[in-house]
Amino acid sequence: MNTLRDLIRSRPIVTAAVVTVFLAALPFLLGNNYYVRVATIVGIYVILVSSLNIIIGFTGMFSLGHAAFYGIGAYTSAMLTTMAGWNFWLALPVAGIVAGIFGTLIGLATLRLRAVFLAFTTLGFGEITRIVILNWRSFTRGPMGIAGVPIPTLFGWTFDRYGYYYLVVVLAALTVGIIYRVYHSRVGRALVAIREDETAARSMGVNVFGYKVLAFTFACVFAGIAGSFFAHFQRFVSADSFANLESFAIITMVALGGTGSIFGPILGALILVILPEVFRFLAQYRGVIYGLVLILVIVLKPGGLAGVKGIFEKPKTPKRRKRR
């Protein structure tokens, strides 16, 4: 693993080229339409899991309602394109911004309080979002959902399965790249410092509340963008897709892949999207699988597969040496 990492570090351009060629060739290697579809779903989850990792893995906050922001993005995009006649390429960033605004509001309301309040509030917000979508018939069409979300077109070309696949690859790559760059900056260091020791971070001049709100907003923007893509990929949105079970699935992927790393979320998304597809007969036990995986990770490998520090790991304080 280490040697692989060193190899990647020492040859970044070669690595990028190999990954690009691989991702470009993948749909042809897979051949089958169904496989391409699964690969596209993996891409959506890479965005969702990477963005939740900013909240949980980098900053050490607990959000239990990431699916709500995913859903807000999906509905924003679906409604703007079907009801207001917007173009997909305009609706996509706007969906991210709207989800981000909701994220900011939740953050401003709760992030001054102790950590558990964010967890409770996001859990509640997830449920409220679902219920509002379900019941506000005049606005969201309620339980009927929104059908006929338009297929994106690019320079007159209407997207097919390959089009969706390549678009999600680009979006996921952008997401991971942007998160990587933020992580390796003054901003990223401030976030990790907050995770590691809030009091010390404060004493080093980090505006803890401000950075928490920033991190939360930033993550919600990506969730909204993932939602927008999902709406146009599925071409139908309904409240069921964004229930708390979905938030729970994303958290499990963060935990399995490894919190606080860039690569971990990709790994988590890959494994937990493909696993239920392989064991198709277990599809109805999807929730059970996620629950078991989460428990196994906590017991066996609290840092996750590629994580820096586990969300469930106890902080270790150095032993104090006896005074002489």
Partner: protein, 256 residues
Amino acid sequence: MILSVDNVRKTFGGLVAVNDVDLEVRQGDIHAIIGPNGAGKTTFFNALTALVPPDSGTITFRGERIDGLKTHQVSARGIGRTFQNIRLFPYLSVLENVKVGAHNLGRHTIFDAILRSGRFRREEREVEEFALELIEKVGLSDKRDTYARNLPYGEQRKLEIARAMAAHPTLLLLDEPAAGMNNTETAALDEFIRSLKSEGYTIILIEHDMKLVMSIADRITVIDHGEKISEGVARDVQNDQRVIEAYLGKQHGGDQ
């Protein structure tokens, strides 16, 4: 006076942890605060840095009132600190710990980071250089990529000082920097703190190691039960009856 503390008071329920304490610290001094365990020294530090905002009293730093500011704003005004019970960022490397200390030297935003703007690249280069310099100064150059949690105790203390210095503070608050150090390490620390003074830092030092305190402190303030009981140069404090009582109890014999 670089720092003037006037009548600062902090109570926790019925306990008066800091009882109307005054303190004047001169620019360029090493000013020690001593006192028995539980006297309120660390609470006093926490009140200065707004970790536990004082109930009353004023704090003036370089001519500006800083009581009422938030902790990160106090840091930005130029006060750096270390902690009695070491509070490093365990899962960040030595280098990254110091870089976090330099947080407020940078101005680049999340957008600069995403676009890798000129400002971002310049600031990151400067911070890297400066952080490496500080790490070398405290003698941790060969451990720059080690997680802070994996450092031995004495080196963690050094890293805390380097991290506190990274913000270019003018005033350093050191909370028991010699705790747990052996004689050789303490002697090295003595020298190191003197070198900080000669570089122009003003230092307030909480310390139990009397040999160190008497050796380097320009002035000493003694606190007991939250109250200032004595102040002056080492010789005055050592001969102050109230100080001797605070440390040894009232019934002391004549022979030292």
